[in-house]
């Protein structure tokens, strides 16, 4: 068993293990629901806003779309605005439906981009990653882009990031001059297995040169290398730590630049376990977990994420980590914002990992970071640096 099949097998196994746990806790109803969800793809009550089945009432095939939709085919409807900062739940819900459909082998027949007016660089990056999975999943299907239904500004962004190349589609002509829109340097896809960590350093150096040519400004190379290299080192060390060897492990990097606002965005994304899940059960943070449980405070994913990003030392000068010298990595990720001002204030770091998010902002009042819990989980870790130049 290899590739996508193996990935699905591992995911199903994880669900089954969870169901057994629920049964042991005598929570039969919950376990039953979970098994049902596993065997059959269904949309939740609140999910019909984002997706419909082809045979459902009121569904009309879009004009000019060729091919027959089979009964039960899934149609995903993209919202008008897709931005983690403006409406996290909406964007995350779409990705969750996407992922569930792929795992349950549900055929996604059509993705409707016609309503979309705005998409953030982080969302477009994650969407491209899911498109990559979709392509692998639907190898037998011929994919087609109905770009005549898209807005020109949106099409330009998808073209620049390389969405059409990912899906092996013909790249459309784009007449939009893109004024007032974000421009992308492109999306890079890397495989953990085939690209050694030692080559990542050279790659970051090359990307910095490209960014400098792209934005026409010199960046602080030291802090950029420190933050980006630590984010990627974490992927190699932790993100896919429990994955099977032959399972395809990837990470993506994209760079965007908003000309109007002079804002540079660097995004790193992986499909791994997520920061709270890799640190929560390790020996490093057991002491803190015990303290929280003693205080009857919930040892939540948000709390774990916040602890990971804060640099705190005990009385011996050692970091929180029980393993000596460990636990600095996430602190380094913040450095690009906290330790360096490239231009104006207002730079920020945004991290989404599993069911928690962490935001660090550099404002005129001061610099501060805070974590919060999300109602919808995003598989993996997304790190976005927004740098005001």
């Amino acid at each position: 068993m290899r590739g996508w099949r193996l990935h699905r097998y591992v995911e199903r196994k994880r669900h089954v293990v969870f169901c057994r746990k629920l049964l042991r806790r005598k929570n039969r109803a919950k376990a039953k629901d979970r098994f049902r969800a596993l065997s059959q793809f269904r949309l939740g009550k609140d999910e019909f806003e984002y997706a419909v089945f082809a045979n459902s009432k009121g569904f009309q095939k879009p004009d000019g779309v060729a091919g027959n939709f089979q009964s039960g085919d899934l149609i995903i409807k993209m919202p008008q605005v897709m931005d983690f900062a403006k409406n996290y739940s909406k964007a995350a819900k779409i990705f969750q439906i996407f992922r569930r459909a792929l795992l349950c082998r549900k055929r996604i027949a059509y993705i409707d981009f016609s309503k979309m007016k705005e998409i953030s660089p982080a969302c477009i990056t994650v969407l491209c990653c899911y498109a990559d999975l979709w392509k692998r999943h639907s190898q037998s299907h011929r994919l087609r882009a109905c770009t005549w239904t898209w807005r020109p500004g949106i099409m330009k962004q998808f073209k620049e990031i390389g969405f059409f190349e990912i899906l092996n589609l013909e790249v459309p002509d784009c007449t939009d001059d893109g004024q007032g829109e974000k421009s992308f340097m492109g999306l890079r896809r890397y495989f953990v297995d085939s690209m050694e960590l030692e080559s990542v350093g050279k790659e970051i150096k090359a990307i910095r040169h490209e960014i400098e040519n792209f934005v026409g400004r010199t960046l602080n190379r030291l802090v950029m290398y420190q933050s980006v290299s630590e984010a990627i080192t974490n992927i190699y060390q932790h993100a896919y730590s429990n994955a099977t060897k032959s399972l395809s492990k990837k990470w993506w990097l994209s760079v965007s630049y908003d000309k109007n606002d002079a804002e540079l965005g660097i995004i790193v994304f992986d499909h791994g376990l997520g920061i709270p899940n890799t640190m929560g059960n390790s020996s490093k943070f057991r002491k803190y977990r015990d303290i929280f449980l003693k205080m009857k405070t919930k040892w939540s994913e948000a709390k774990r994420l916040e602890l990971a990003f804060e640099r705190k030392r005990n009385r011996h000068g050692r970091l929180r980590s029980k393993l000596e010298g460990r636990g600095n990595g996430c602190g380094d990720i913040v450095e690009l914002i906290s330790n360096c001002r490239h231009g104006r204030e207002g730079s920020s770091l945004f991290v989404v990992s599993s069911k928690a998010q962490y935001r660090y902002v550099d404002t005129d009042v001061g610099r501060r970071g805070a974590a919060s819990a999300n109602d919808v989980a995003l598989q993996g870790t997304l790190i976005e640096w927004k740098i005001k130049l």
């Binding site: 030692e198 350093g201 190379r221 030291l222 290299s229 011996h316 000068g317 000596e324 600095n328």
Partner: protein, 117 residues
């Protein structure tokens, strides 16, 4: 004073090792902290005094610096007293001075942690 200058080996990380150091352990990367410590720093320290110049690099992640300078205390290649006498950490590039300070901090933290044990 002249004798001291002759005996001291100077290792410039960017020139003698790599300009893109990354990773903590050898199994992860050829340019990791463990590789630099075991293949460059420890052999040089066993011969005499060493000055590590952190210049000529793209940057440092804390995992690299911690593994080199915290790790050298933990692996007990030299006694803490010998380490303090023989190892000097500098940066001829002013921009990299904060990394030199951080490296010294990792070294001192590891020595303090060993003393507590």
């Amino acid at each position: 004073m002249e004798n001291q200058a002759i005996e001291e080996t100077v290792i410039v990380v960017g020139r003698d090792f790599t300009d893109t150091p990354i990773g903590r352990y050898k199994k992860e990367s050829r340019y990791s902290g463990e590789a630099f410590r075991d293949d460059f720093l420890v052999p040089a320290l066993q011969k005499g005094k060493v000055c590590v110049d952190l210049a000529c690099v793209e940057g440092y992640g804390s995992s690299f610096l911690e593994e080199v300078f915290g790790g050298i205390v933990r692996i007990h290649a030299l006694s803490n007293q010998d380490l303090k006498e023989r190892l000097r950490i500098i940066s001829s590039d002013v921009a990299l001075k904060p990394f030199a300070d951080r490296a010294i901090k990792y070294l001192n933290d590891a020595i303090a942690a060993e003393d507590v044990k």
